[in-house]
Symmetry: C2
Subunit: 499 residues, 2 copies
Amino acid sequence: MSKAKTAINPTREENFNEWYQQVVKKADLAENSSVRGCMIVKPHGFSLWENIQKDMDSRFKALGVKNAYFPLLIPLSSLEKEAKHVDGFAKECAVVTHRRLVQDGDNLVPEGKLEEPYVIRPTSEMIIGESFSNWINSYRDLPMKINQWANVMRWEMRPRVFLRTSEFLWQEGHTAHATEKEAIEMSKEILELYRSFVEETMAIALIVGEKTESEKFPGADITFTIEALMQDGKALQAGTSHYLGQNFSKAQNIKFLDSDSSEKFAYTTSWGASTRLIGGLIMTHGDDNGLVIPPKLASSQVMICPIFKKTEEKEAIENFISELRKDMSHSMFFGQKVNIEVDWRDMRGGEKYWDNIRKGFPVIIEVGKRDLEKGQVAFTRRDNGVGNKEFIKTADFIKRIGDELESIQDNLYKKSQQRIEDSLVDINTKEEFENFLKAKHSPLMLGKALLNDCDEVRNILSDHKMSFRCMPLSEKEGEYSCLISGKPVVKKVVFGQSY
Amino acid sequence: MSKAKTAINPTREENFNEWYQQVVKKADLAENSSVRGCMIVKPHGFSLWENIQKDMDSRFKALGVKNAYFPLLIPLSSLEKEAKHVDGFAKECAVVTHRRLVQDGDNLVPEGKLEEPYVIRPTSEMIIGESFSNWINSYRDLPMKINQWANVMRWEMRPRVFLRTSEFLWQEGHTAHATEKEAIEMSKEILELYRSFVEETMAIALIVGEKTESEKFPGADITFTIEALMQDGKALQAGTSHYLGQNFSKAQNIKFLDSDSSEKFAYTTSWGASTRLIGGLIMTHGDDNGLVIPPKLASSQVMICPIFKKTEEKEAIENFISELRKDMSHSMFFGQKVNIEVDWRDMRGGEKYWDNIRKGFPVIIEVGKRDLEKGQVAFTRRDNGVGNKEFIKTADFIKRIGDELESIQDNLYKKSQQRIEDSLVDINTKEEFENFLKAKHSPLMLGKALLNDCDEVRNILSDHKMSFRCMPLSEKEGEYSCLISGKPVVKKVVFGQSY
């Protein structure tokens, strides 16, 4: 029996990692650049990031967060302050040592050594902390809620487009508060913001929880996380929100005069999400025909592929589309306008259709001369209808489109949620734990068990390339003990392989 | 007679440069950072940039331009290619030579020398050109229209917030076309886009024109420019659009197979505008009380300052504001929604009022207990009513607000346009030219005359710290000769001092 033809080779089953690279390429999302580990995000890939930004940004603003911009470069002396306090500080960064280039024959060579080298920001934690220290004087200045959309840089030895790149785009939020309670509340609000955005807009189901001690952000009292599950069974950390207590405010001298006239250190939070979300999108919804974009995240929900040879055919289709745009001007899904895009590129019909399938537009309709005569369109739902075009009357298409888009969004989310339900193994005894580790799962599975984050357990997991993902918020707390070490545990923890 | 109190000291007349710095500071727009020449853009300043981005971006997209993202770092070898072709290439850039930091006692020191150093992009011309060369094969791939919003870096010896900073934010557009005609058309469309955005949204009147030979972008066949006039009489280049002919496509090997099966070099354009626009905004509309934001550029057109002491007073004002929001939900100006913001900060009424005046909100209304009883608000128009609060019935305020905002926008534009009319001296003889140079204008003036862009004229202008700004599109072309050198001139050129 011959294999069904797929637009992406290899398939997910044949080689998931290579399938991922091929989707990135065939959906025209991004490519590697001549700078090791740095990617070029192409227009289709960047439109996903723009839509992520737009949606998340409006949610940040609704929480009273304001955007600002801080310098790309950090003086070494600022980093030294930080390095003293934080062991896990990322030191693999790009160091700027010279201030100009001079011509030397055909070559350019660095000249003008800087008195103090700079580092390209691996994060803006330090520089924003310094500003907070300057800006905050009184309780009247609190809460201070700042976010930055920016590029950051950390050399990556094993780069992988969107998932691990030396330069990446992200948002980093930093807030300072007068009380512990308010700061913890803030870090939870952001966790909920990340959850609702990723689940509702990106249609990616999540395990929402708290990191165990060893997996926490260095310097954080609590690290909250959203963990998604990829189709190969690996987990992907998709966003983190840290409650930092007074650790950073003490290191960075963020003090305020409280209403009782006493001087106090502020309570701070920080939180971030990055272009990695696009990697998560690909590996959650992508199939053997390429990318699949949930309607709420797509710039265009409907891609129209006109099929024509002669000029008069083209004109007839242009008229049809301008009518369709008018008729659809009130079409909505989830209270949102339906955007239509037309692919006028000069290429063969089949080629054009499959290119838009690979790019993942939620609904694709083809219109040719014969369709116009019959008053119909050839309709494809990207989530489950590829290759099975349905010919439907244009009037019916207009009636149905809102429902179809809502159904696609729901369907993608449910599939992703079902995957978590099917992949998460509840483990209750030492024997079950050992059997779980021994089993050759394909796709991989996640385990959930009472385990203490101690060397003994971490080493066992590490031998299986696994790590603690999080303690889900939904798990019941109690006075339990670890299945392996017998040490105290407050709740079950999810573990598995991860990106 | 004692001087009237102003919120900004010194006034524009006393010391324009220092006035500028004080507005930046007192309007809470930005501040210098610990990295020489790099600024921190604070939330109020960044909101201006966000609004500039949002408006310009939608105009780019309407022209079929797509956003993408290219690496921050450029390998030296790519720059060398460019340096061979372009003399004016900016070599004052930040050079990355090492890949990590290691701890040495309390200090961090650079380690791991890179085989090939990188430069932080001073522009992405080269790296986008390389991509175009890879992406473009056939005439079917054209036109290609790419834009990038990014940070760039060029060491600045005399930094000045927003006007000249080592790191700045900008957009750079790059397009490739199959024909010269189409590429020139594109560069003109962008010029018109810049003009309409800056004049209509930012309310800044412009002189729109073409750069003379020596002022062109290195490598460009034509450089179009929009030039604004600041209140001190200096010109500010606010955006440029370059038609690059085949110069860059030849240097970067951007070729395509045309429909006639012959291989051709593409015709390219590039164009950019930056955070410098915010500097232009300050120096065009700002007054001795601080920043003035045109309504179309403001995030909030109406800033409400509640005045209250007791809790029950606050509650009454909260109720009033929530009613007002409802009543104003359909208020519009120029077809745009009126956004209201409330300044609930815990500070004295006068202090709060003046802080919002300095920040430049178009309309400020104050509401206290007595106003509520009388059903009135204290109304201030930022453009001409500071200090002269008008008490008006709330119902009248709601009726009037749309017209008031439109009138503010128009008024700011007209003032700026009048300034150009009053400052631009039409010069028709050598004697007039000499008198113009001798005169001590305060504010400075711009001249417009038949002058050839030759060493002789440039040296004279340079002695007076002046330079050619542009040949206005509105000037009549002909076969003229230079007032000074007698060399041929096609049209009058505007010259003066500039930022």
